[in-house]
Symmetry: C2
Subunit: 477 residues, 2 copies
């Protein structure tokens, strides 16, 4: 008899059979009822121990966190709260767990405490649900792109280029840290480093993804990206995962269609496949909200929010329209914003985005056609000469989820832009080649994966949606 | 009318219709026949230009590498080599390609040359086929694990631990490279670095994956890993992708079953989904082999090799049996090996593995139960006290494809092993916690993804199966 997963036991039709199951004890109640979990589902299976015929020494070792192997018969449950349970015939303690020292007690722990015990936090219902959802979302992403004719591509993590300018970078080196070799000018001689030049961790795979879009047509990346920024906030990580599709012959309108269809598809997937995890997280969130004043509580539950995104069109609003709305809105006129919107060209701050998304439109919003001078060099200049075909997708409660654009496909315009910004043509010779040889309209976007997991799980801190978060002063585990 | 992919045009049943297609010109023959490719398939579609009614200036711009948009009618082809073709009604040049300077000419280029033009090499049939296969294998991996109840987990790329000892590491830092801050002892003060300590790029996600296996049951990683080793060979990269499943309650025998089933499943997937790409690469390989002496040619074609792995059981051989075979084999007795096998305990070199796999067994081989002192600290010590429950899977022509083991689950044995090897307990406190709280038998393995892509594509150099290879002195693009 091979052992069964708890998920399969709880879903099986044929109930009256002998089973074997292995897992970790969540609780042991009245010397009789084990709540056992093996990670295959949020639900525990109840295992009923015949304590009168079980060795006292064994009973004492059935503690929270212990690993056990149980043989018994699956039967309909007499008690409330479960359909089936296991009548235990034999139990073997595989690994003890000292109840005095095991950090994960059968009580509520703060998320801060659990972050310090990130190696054990998936033994809680909350974090196991979050990480199962993270896994499901990952699969849904690969599935979506695969079904839509995209190729998955692995762009390099170590990069010799720092032209993208998306943020501060981490240096990668194996020169002597204390006494690096110096060149004739007294600077560090990176020619002696592993790659023969200075290298950093990537901030984006976009530029490399463009090379593959311009040959394979439709590609996407899904990999880690890095920012060496000293941002100790609940929305920033130094290491996070990003999804970046890039498509040849697609313009900005197509880019918006793709992003919207993609987001709806992956969120539909978890509604279909992770119902129990979502229901658990929804109730957790409701409990948490009860401690807040009425005005700060969400109007929608977690599942309602996800369904709302799946079922409603994203509102498409040009930057120019958005500025008009913001200039004339109450918080701007009453000077409640920290940054007052006075004229066209202002960079939108999080407070403005939140107003648009959470107060004015109350749905996901795609802002597009931003002023050229607040956006990256590679974005397609519009015919007006002052805006670019950029788009940001803003989600209620999360802010920017997606940033994308149609790319500048005209060699002369791109070169002029790079020159104006002091970006070295020689460093991006290969990027320019794409505009020299068979250039075409193409577009893509980047989605911060952890932001998506936050939205889908209702977790409020980005450190709680990635297994082992990397933040300033913290690279534990 | 939205534009069609060439893959859909070549597979469609309803053939007599007006179509629009965009792609890059592979060749233009007799001022009449465009071979057009858009990356959606290895096959080009033939577009027949009515040159008598087409502007001379436009005809001149139909050059290899140019991007074009074509409208026309899909018809049955009169010529040989294709079922359908497009009778061009209008053609628009989207992006020119100067035939004098475009690096990818319609002729055979060396792989070395194409590596220097890695941003354009997927415009060749060979590299587009390789990268489509790489993408398909990636998807097959996610699909396999998803269908078998595994959760995908993202283990950290930046790590504060160097305990795994799998190889030399790259340092990640944003201290001043030339004048780093020093501590009282005159050493670099990594407390002032971004993470407050010295950090490196990961060599493996295994130890972190174990934490999730011991809570979620079955997990896997699929992410980049790094080695700062100065190996300029056709089988090593400084940055490569690895797949690492880890399963609670699974022993070494289960680990072998999993690895074999997994390999067969992902290879079956490409046989089913990438037939045309495989056929192209198979014929490429046959051409290449014709230049070799008979004795060096493969007995099997590419597709036959893949089928052989899918259809046959992997041979399971203990290290001890392998040593017996090697000690008594001809090349050992005749001292043809560089390293002569004299006694039990010898580390197997590539020449020995190749003999076993390619000469003796002539099939994939799983070697297991290696001497403890040539394997990593975390492997489960057997009852004999001298071997560990390790396994390596060796493939003909590739060598080691998979390395795995059952993990040491006993706290006292693990601690003793770490002490003997000088591994700091404090650094791996969280890893030891897994043995303190609910420990259990568990196992896993690591698969070098690029090795798998090499096997599946028949490519001989690992730099040709990853988009932008990172090797000593090379981090271009």
């Amino acid at each position: 008899m091979t052992s069964n997963t708890i998920a399969s036991l709880l879903s099986k039709e044929n109930k009256l059979q002998d089973v074997e199951v292995k897992g970790w004890v969540r609780t042991f109640r009245a010397n009789r009822f084990i709540a056992l979990n093996d990670g295959s589902t949020i639900n525990n299976i109840q295992c009923v121990v015949d304590f009168e015929n079980t060795d006292e020494a064994v009973l004492k070792r059935i503690t929270t966190g212990a690993a056990v192997s149980i043989k018994g018969s699956l039967t309909e449950s007499q008690g409330k709260g479960q359909q089936v349970e296991i009548q235990v015939k034999s139990i073997e303690i595989l690994g003890d767990s000292d109840p005095e020292t095991f950090p994960i007690q059968p009580k509520k722990h703060s998320f801060e405490f659990l972050r310090e015990n990130a190696h054990l936090r998936t033994r809680t219902s909350t974090f196991s649900a979050v990480m199962r959802l993270r896994s499901s979302l990952s699969f849904a992403i690969h599935k979506y792109f695969n079904e839509n004719g995209f190729y998955y591509m692995h762009t390099p993590i170590i990069t010799g280029s720092d032209a993208e300018g998306a943020g501060e970078m981490f240096r990668v080196s194996n020169l002597d840290a204390k006494n690096p070799p110096l060149d004739e000018d007294g600077n560090v001689n990176f020619k002696e480093d592993f790659f023969g030049k200075e290298t950093n961790l990537t901030v984006s795979g976009q530029l490399e993804a463009e090379t593959y879009a311009m040959s394979l047509g439709k590609v996407y990346t899904f990999g880690p990206t890095f920012r060496a920024e000293n941002s100790n906030t609940s929305r920033h990580l130094a290491e996070f995962w990003m999804i970046e599709p890039e498509v040849a012959f697609m313009d900005l309108a197509g880019n918006m269609d793709l992003a919207e269809d993609f987001m709806k598809s992956v969120l539909s997937y978890i509604l279909e496949h992770n119902r129990e995890d979502l229901e658990f997280l929804e109730s957790r969130l409701l409990d948490e909200e009860k401690t807040k004043p009425q005005a700060e509580r969400s109007e929608m539950s977690l599942i309602e929010k996800i369904k709302f995104v799946v079922d409603n069109n994203f509102k498409r609003v040009s930057y120019t329209e958005a500025i008009d709305i913001l200039r004339n809105c109450k918080p701007n006129k009453k000077k409640k914003f920290k940054y007052i919107i006075e004229e066209w060209g202002a960079d939108l701050q999080s407070e403005h985005e939140r107003y648009l998304v959470e107060k004015h439109f109350n749905c996901p919003v795609i802002l597009f056609d931003y002023p050229a001078n607040i956006k990256a060099f590679y974005m397609r200049l519009n015919e007006d000469g002052k805006t670019v075909r950029a788009m940001d997708i803003l989600f209620p409660g999360i802010g920017e989820m997606v940033g994308g654009s149609q790319r500048e496909e005209r060699l002369d315009v791109l070169k002029a832009k790079m020159k104006a910004l002091g970006i070295d043509e020689e460093e991006l010779w290969w990027y320019l080649d794409l505009r020299k040889y068979g250039t075409a309209v193409h577009s893509g976007f980047g989605l911060g994966f952890e932001r998506l997991v936050m939205f889908a799980t209702g977790m409020g801190n980005i450190r709680d949606v990635i297994p082992f978060p990397r933040t300033p002063q913290n690279a534990e585990f």
